[in-house]
């Protein structure tokens, strides 16, 4: 009896969540059509775009750090691989020589272009999708190679080794000798980017600049949620809680750690690709370890071990640092005008103090290990308890 109830409840929650997600996507679509770049509220779209990039990055990091207990600091490196893969394979041939201005571009192939030649506009979308997936696969492939030696290492050694790998990857991508592929240390641009994502239906032009990244992030995060709730996700959690017990219960540590690591890196790669399409540039020097730290802090802010926490944490982080707290940098904040104090950099100071407070006093972050759906369930439970 209990089990039937259990599975029915599970299904009910998932249908409810799905509905919420659809409503959210519809709102984003609506906003995309109605907020023009010159509008003051366009910051909202910027936050949604960047927020969804970081949300996916944070959730994928959480899969590794929060769910599998592998403290890895190599995220920026995998995002870099994703960003470059995506960028290189979506630069149209007409722009290639301008972009690779100091090199003779070696890869002269663009997915959106090739596919649209065959299939028309739908091909462009497909090309972008293929490039995004390829970005993830590339990151996952590198993660596999890196994982073979380093996943055996324990906690902080793993952290420092993965951090080191991210630095190595960055150096390799900046190497002058790889210039024909990576454009050396110079930036890549002119590839398929969100500002160009538009759909023409008859006479009306539908803007998809925010919708596309939000959609990719949503789908990816749903997949991660599915994975976490599957038997593999439970195995990851058991490794986090007690590695020795997990191994004794027949869970192959090396294999499961590798799965978690590659999947996490796959989505890090996807988020890197999204980062490129949102920023409309890709450059190795942006993917520093500071980026990994920021993502880690988002995860902490939201609560290690909570996917909704990571999403909330990253949107809060992005919104606060890009939008709400901007006044702290430019003289006037909350109506207080104090250019002496509220000058450049103050925002980040306030921000890092908030983070330190969370780290020290609210160690569980916003969500702890709970998900949003748990909160609803708890409320129901409480209501039931009260009725009794």
């Amino acid at each position: 009896m209990k089990t039937i109830n259990d599975s029915r409840n599970r299904q009910k929650t998932s249908w409810g969540s799905l509905l919420l997600v659809l409503v959210f996507l519809a709102i984003v679509f609506y906003l995309d059509q109605n907020i023009k770049p010159t509008n003051k509220m366009f910051m909202l779209l910027t936050v949604l775009q960047k927020g969804s990039v970081y949300a996916l990055a944070a959730v994928s990091m959480n899969l590794l750090n929060g769910y599998t207990g592998l403290f890895s600091l190599g995220h920026a490196g995998f995002m870099l691989i994703g960003a470059y893969t995506y960028a290189i394979f979506t630069i149209p041939s007409s722009a290639r020589d301008t972009v690779y201005q100091y090199f003779d571009a070696a890869i002269r192939f663009s997915f959106p272009e090739t596919f649209s030649n065959v299939m028309g506009p739908a091909g462009t979308a497909l090309g972008v999708l293929v490039a995004v997936i390829l970005a993830g696969l590339m990151a996952a492939f590198f993660a596999y190679l890196i994982g073979l030696p380093v996943l055996r290492l324990k906690s902080d050694y793993l952290a420092i080794a993965t951090l080191g790998f991210a630095e190595i990857i960055r150096a390799v991508f900046q190497w002058q000798k790889l210039g024909p592929i990576t454009n050396g240390s110079n930036l890549l641009k002119s590839f398929a980017r969100t500002s160009k994502f538009k759909l023409e239906v008859g006479d009306t032009k539908l803007v998809l600049s925010t919708f596309v990244p939000v959609l990719i992030a949503t789908v990816s995060i749903i997949i991660i949620v599915k994975l976490v709730n599957s038997t593999y996700g439970r195995a990851f959690k058991s490794i986090r809680d007690d590695e020795v017990a997990a191994e004794a219960m027949g869970i192959n540590l090396a294999r499961h750690k590798m799965i978690s690591f590659t999947v996490s890196s796959f989505f890090a790669g996807v988020s890197g690709a999204m980062m490129a399409m949102v920023l409309s540039i890709a450059q190795a020097s942006n993917f520093k370890s500071a980026m990994t730290y920021e993502i880690l802090l988002m995860v902490v802010l939201g609560g290690i071990g909570s996917i909704s926490g990571s999403v909330i944490g990253s949107f809060l982080f992005v919104a606060a640092s890009e939008w709400w707290l901007r006044g702290l940098d430019s003289g006037t904040f909350l109506g207080i005008n104090a250019p002496g104090v509220f000058r450049n950099g103050f925002r980040l100071v306030v921000f890092s103090i908030i983070i330190m407070i969370v780290v020290l006093f609210f160690r569980k972050g916003i969500m702890g290990e709970k998900e949003i759906s748990d909160l609803f369930r708890d409320r129901k439970k409480k209501a039931k308890g009260a009725a009794k």
Binding site: K2, T3, D6, S7, I223, K226, L227, S230, T231, Y232, R234, A235, K237, S238, R240, D241, D242, V244, A245, A246, E247, A248, M249, G250, I251, N252, L253, A254, I259, V263, G305, E369
Partner: protein
């Protein structure tokens, strides 16, 4: 002895040497299907080390372990140990087989821990369910995209059934670590059973229990053996429990086996009495 039944576990000449210390010296034992066998010995006798060798935590320095008639662990003094080896039977074994514990669990060995190692953040149900992971046929993709729904439901049902059997149904959704000590032990055993083992290895199952709980546990272990058709190997200090349920006992002292036999034989054995200095009761 149930020599008519097939041999589940066979340990041959296992020696475990850490640096210059021989923790287990030339230990051999056998266990037959459906038996309950105990390894006892005073503190520091090498019981836990022997246990860890059998479960694959440590590779032995020399010796062999067979499970269900299949060689699973084998080692001989190699590398630095070649010169430093102090044990016997050097040269008898020539292969190096060192499976990780999960491989042994997959073959049908499951264990519990002396200092209970449940998964802290998870409920009783989840603790048991995860141990079912081993039996999956799905891969990471089919599991993520829900193509294994039937199997998933089956595992959930099995886990529930198991929880029911071991009498933890009323605490199914409690956090494992919030249970009283006795129930945590029980859960750990249930978790091990969820891997559907042929041999269950219990590392001091009664450690930290009061006499009342110990009695319950004794009964519980017996029930398990009959209900799940497993053989049981246990390390224990509580002599009551050991003498009550074991069919055969191996006694270790300073790493070497000093006696083996039925409980009655062991109780009479002078060497054993000497080793325990007469303190054969609750140690």
């Amino acid at each position: 002895m149930r020599k008519d039944k097939p041999c589940v576990l066979k340990v041959e000449d296992v020696t475990m040497q850490f640096g210059g210390v021989v923790a287990v010296n030339n230990f051999s034992m056998e266990e037959y299907e459906g038996e309950i066998v105990a390894i006892i010995g005073p503190n520091g006798a090498g019981k836990t080390t022997a246990f860890n060798v059998i479960t694959g935590v440590y590779a032995p320095t020399n010796g062999r372990v067979s499970f269900n008639g299949e060689r699973v662990i084998e080692n001989y003094p190699r590398g630095k140990m070649k010169k430093a080896y102090l044990g016997q039977n050097a040269g008898k074994y020539t292969e190096h087989l060192e499976p990780t514990p999960d491989k042994l669990t997959a073959l049908g060995m499951a264990r519990t821990f002396q200092n209970i190692r449940l998964w802290k953040s998870m409920t009783v149900f989840e603790n048991v369910l995860i141990a079912k992971h081993l039996k999956r046929t799905s891969n990471v993709f089919s599991a993520t995209f829900g193509a294994n729904r039937v199997e998933e439901q089956m595992q959930r049902d099995e886990a529930d059934a198991l929880i029911e059997t071991v009498g933890l149904a009323d605490v199914r959704d409690e956090l494992a670590t919030s249970l009283p000590y006795g129930k945590q032990r029980r859960l750990e055993i249930a978790r091990a059973l969820a891997t559907e083992p042929k041999l269950l290895l219990l590392d001091e199952p009664a450690a930290g229990m009061n006499p009342q709980e110990t009695v319950e546990l004794t009964r519980f272990i017996g029930e398990i053996r009959d209900q799940f058709h497993v053989s049981i190997l246990l390390i224990e200090h509580h002599m009551d429990l050991v003498m009550d349920i074991s069919e055969r006992i191996y006694v270790l002292d300073f790493g070497s086996m000093i006696a083996s036999g039925t409980p009655a034989e062991i109780q009479q054995n002078e060497k054993v009495i000497d080793a325990y200095l007469g303190v054969t009761d609750d140690a």
